[in-house]
Amino acid sequence: MSEAHHDGDLAVRTAGLTKRFRSGQVAVDGLDLAVPRGAVYGFLGPNGSGKTTTIRMLLGLARPTAGRAWLLGSAMPEDAARVLPRVGALVEGPAFHPYLTGRANLARLDAGDATADPRTSRRRADAALDRVGLGAAATKPYRQYSLGMKQRLGLAAALLQPRDLLVLDEPTNGLDPQGTREVRHLVRELADGGATVLVSSHLLAEIEQVCSHVGIMSRGRLLLQGERAALTDREGARLAVTTRSGQADAAAEVLRGLGLAEVARDGRALPGGAGTARLTAVLGPTPPEKVSAALVHAGVDLVGLAVDRPSLEQVFVELTGEGFDVAR
């Protein structure tokens, strides 16, 4: 029963999801995804790490070799007809009929949706086009669209109906920085509206800021997943305290007294010039303001205090020993 309850809280769940291609290559290896409802889940990993294959299995386009997947509590692909109308998806780039207009392409997809009301089709298509900034290009044939406009039309297709879950595979591909910002804004807006968003990317910096949760994939395996803040805290934020040389030992005493680990004196030359010393330590759960108050209380002159939290990228490199643009 507890497992069933667990399911209900998850918008996307997989259990041991595996895909082995006929060539023998294992693209996805025993994946256990857990995307909580209402989350913006950053599905990260280098190109070729298995993200798109996973998304194809989630959406019923490909059959898993082993394992199972659920979307919004319904098993895929068995319940596709029931659950997919509530899911908007962008899979491996946009794809439309080149000689049809943007609006006609949306009408085409809408015509396939048994749950869509034909009477509101035109209105919903125009609303979706406006939402992604394509209103003015609605009557242009798709083949005249720029790469960014094509990507936007793909997003418009995902927004034709109200959705509980959006699966967006590389939504910022081909977009300029302004377009990328707009996609981030859109993702945040969708999440604010109560939808769960699973967004994959190999460019971590582009989506890192909007994610509440993160899953990192490499070589077909999920290296880790969880709340973003928890992941970056996992490595521990580091603290750097700059003080007068003569007070360094006293300051170190205070830091140790607060329970900070790895308190050490930084021997390098300091921008503060002669007469200052720098101490570093792992901050852990201690709030920085408590550290500064304690130092001042102990009579230590505080020349500088900095907190350095690791970025997701640092976490990733730490985990895999590889950069984000490493392809398999």
């Binding site: 497992e3 399911d7 194809r56 959406l59 319904s74 109308p85 509530r86 000689y99 997809l109 749950t115």
Partner: protein
């Protein structure tokens, strides 16, 4: 954990699941969209226009050479055209049947699924979601509609050009006896219907090939090759044992409609062979398309 818990567990559906239209309604809406796509596509319209041009060219040539020494020469049914415009329909179908019609069928049916796969639109239709069986049925009906349009393009322009150039008269049958215009038109309509139905097997073959590949040209070519190979095999007397089952063997049995007493047994066996090809390749296409991973 039970299936019911999986489906309807707490929080399983925060919003009520959207209500789907009854299957026939959803099917009809998608079919309308598909027909608009297939019959509105410029390439397909060019193909139909090309086919419609055939009777125009034949009619014009016959009209110009009517009083020359060349008059009355050429393949079957051609000699009768100048005497009766109705025969332009028959002659044009006769000339288009070996290659032009199979080519057009191959293009339309081979493109049906593979075209969507190569454009990438297939994956988006499937996640809409369009059930795979429904999509295949709609694709098959649209390809059949195009085949019908192709045959009608030849037949209708044949009738119009024939009537304009040579008039429509009582029909002289193969045996030499004559039937009145009304019955003659019915018999020609029978020929048009038979030719159209004769192409259904090839549509099924093309649809199957179309589910095998993401390269539409490959499926188109393979479909045309099947028709050509079937014709070649049909011409080898050593293989007479398999002739009755060949896709193209009965295609020219449409001449049965020009006999005094139409032998429905011959017509029926021709259509039965097509039905068998449709059943086999339709089933293969279904088996393939409903199970294959979509990787495009």
């Amino acid at each position: 954990m039970s299936r019911a818990e999986l489906l309807d567990g707490p929080g399983g559906s925060p919003a009520a699941a959207p209500v789907a239209a009854p299957a026939p309604v959803a099917f009809a809406r998608l079919l309308r969209s598909e027909l608009r796509l297939v019959l509105g596509r410029r390439r397909n319209l060019v193909l139909l226009a090309g086919l419609a041009l055939v009777p125009v060219v034949i009619g014009t040539v016959l009209l110009v050479t009517r009083d020359s020494a060349l008059s009355g020469q050429g393949p079957a049914f051609l000699a009768q055209v100048t005497g009766n415009g109705l025969f332009l329909v028959v002659a044009a179908l006769f000339l288009c049947l070996p290659f032009l019609l199979p080519l057009c069928i191959g293009i339309a049916s081979g493109d049906a699924v593979a075209g969507e796969a190569s454009a990438g639109t297939l994956r988006y239709l499937l996640v809409v979601p369009v059930p795979r069986g429904r999509l295949l049925a709609v694709k098959a009906l649209a390809a059949l509609t195009f085949a019908a349009a192709a045959v009608l393009a030849v037949a209708v322009t044949g009738l119009l050009v024939g009537a304009a150039f040579f008039g429509v008269h009582d029909v002289v049958l193969l045996s030499g006896s004559t039937v009145p215009v009304g019955e003659g038109v019915l018999r020609v309509a029978g020929i048009v219907a038979y030719v159209g139905l004769s192409l259904t097997g090839l549509v099924a073959v093309g649809l199957f090939f179309s589910t095998l590949t993401e390269v539409p040209v490959g499926a188109m070519a393979a479909t045309v090759v099947v028709a050509v190979v079937s014709t070649v095999l049909d011409s080898l007397p050593q293989l007479s044992a398999i002739h009755p089952g060949l896709l193209t063997h009965h295609w020219f049995d449409f001449a049965e409609f020009l006999r005094v007493q139409v032998d429905w047994g011959v017509v029926g066996s021709g259509l039965a062979v097509q039905a068998a090809w449709v059943a086999v390749f339709g089933a293969l296409a279904w088996a393939r398309f409903t199970t294959a991973d979509v990787t495009s």
